[in-house]
């Protein structure tokens, strides 16, 4: 049976051709191809890991940001509160001070007015006294031109004094 006969030459060539090309392919094809596939697999894995890491970091960062924001918000509220408080305080203080000042000014003005009034009154007294004396002198000079009248007044005055 030719079909199932092992041919020596063909057997020899099969082994030779197969092994020669196996070694050539191993060196020039499979080596670089498998290395390339491995490299790519590793690269992809590395990139995925990196992405994962980046995502983690991102979420961590985001959480941190959120926290910071929260803190900032709180701080702002605090500040606002404080500012409000301060404002109120300042206003109150200012109002109080202004009131005080106003009172002081008023007081001073009153005092000045009082002093002026006193001075004016004193002057009026002095002036009116002088005027009265002058008028009285003039009246008296006229009335007491005659001696009798002078005597009568003098008597009257003496009696008044005595009555007192």
């Amino acid at each position: 049976m030719e079909l199932i006969k092992i041919e020596f030459g063909l057997f020899f060539w099969t082994v030779v051709v197969f092994l020669i090309f196996f070694f050539i392919l191993k060196k020039y094809a499979w080596g670089p191809i498998l290395q390339g596939i491995k490299t790519r697999e590793e690269t992809i894995k590395g990139r995925l890991d990196e992405a994962e890491k980046a995502r983690d970091e991102m979420s961590k960062l985001q959480a941190k940001n959120e926290e910071l924001l929260q803190k900032a918000r709180k701080e702002r509220d605090e500040l606002l509160k404080q500012a409000n408080k301060m404002k109120d305080q300042i206003i109150t203080e200012a109002r109080a001070k202004a009131g005080e000042e106003a009172t002081k000014v008023l007081e001073k003005a009153k005092q000045e007015i009082e002093a002026d009034k006193k001075a004016a009154l004193a002057e009026i007294k002095v002036t009116s006294g002088a005027l009265a004396v002058e008028i009285a002198e003039k009246i008296l000079r006229k009335q007491f031109a005659d001696r009798n009248q002078q005597q009568a007044l003098a008597d009257q005055l003496i009696s008044e004094l005595n009555n007192n």
């Binding site: 049976m1 030719e2 079909l3 199932i4 006969k5 092992i6 041919e7 020596f8 030459g9 063909l10 057997f11 020899f12 060539w13 099969t14 082994v15 051709v17 197969f18 092994l19 020669i20 090309f21 196996f22 050539i24 392919l25 191993k26 020039y28 094809a29 499979w30 080596g31 670089p32 191809i33 498998l34 290395q35 390339g36 596939i37 490299t39 790519r40 690269t43």
Partner: protein, 361 residues
Amino acid sequence: MSLKRLLIVSILAIFCTQFAFASNPEEGGKEFNVGQHLMHHVLDSYDWELTEYKTGEDSAGNPIYGHLAIHLPRILYSSEHGLEFYSSTDAMRASGKYEVDSHGHAHIGHAGSESDHDHGPAVYDFSLTKTVVQMILISLLMLWIFGSMAKRYKKDPNRAPKGAQSLFEPIVIFVKDDIVAPNLKERTDGFLPYMLTLFFFIWFSNVFGLMPFNSNIMGNITVTTALALLTFILTNVNGTKDYWKHVFAMPGVPGWLWPLITVLEILGLFIKPFALTLRLFANIVGGHFMILSLVALIFILGQNGQLAWAGIAASPIAILFPAILMLLEFLVAGLQAYIFTLLTAVFIGMALESHDHEHAH
């Protein structure tokens, strides 16, 4: 650069042989012998026949056929003539040193008997037959495809695959992850180049064998035997202590049974590659026979042109069925490559295994 030069030189070397329009008149007018034709188609030969053509008619009006063929070189070694090269079988025959039988085999001093039992002095025939040349061509094709693929990986492995790369990379990864890795585990990297060569060599051979003019490499038992022998050697060379212990002193089996078990185990060592040989050979040659037989239906029913209408009537079936079978054969081409590689990986994996003997076998 050197790789490309190697390719070109090799191709030229193969085709240095003449491209001959030989006209060896056959006896015309004989009954169309289907069996003989099928055999001729499936078997290896010393020239690459492209087609037959009618060269004339003999006196009785029967056609005479000539062959259009590429003559392949003959390389022979015998103790009488030493190592000899001839450009073709014709040249060898013309030298007068060898007798040539109907298959083209060379013999010394043994008048062209058809017998397989050669009584003359041994002639070692290293001729580059059709199958050898086809194997070299396929290997060169693999070298070209995978060599150019490799260049892309060398340039930048991280680039997305392109062209042939995107076709073959998934297959390479399939061989790596689904055939070799599950069986060879941590030894995968070392055996992977061999397994890839084996897989693609068988697959390409099978696919090309389905195309016209090509030789059915894996439908040749010599080739499958050679490949199975390599598997056998790889398996046993890599056998661990455990592996041999399982052969010669099966653990968990009483000592008096060891001789029996050892006989079976040693038989098993040879049966495994033998099964590999036959499986691949039978699948491929069987497929070829099926397709060829169905096509031959035209000639059988047409009775070599004497009953032309029957031949014509048979032709739809004789064309449709082989077409369907061809699709099946394309599947088988890959499947057998897969099975051969897988089993090789399994056998080597078994030989590499070293395990504790607590569990039962």
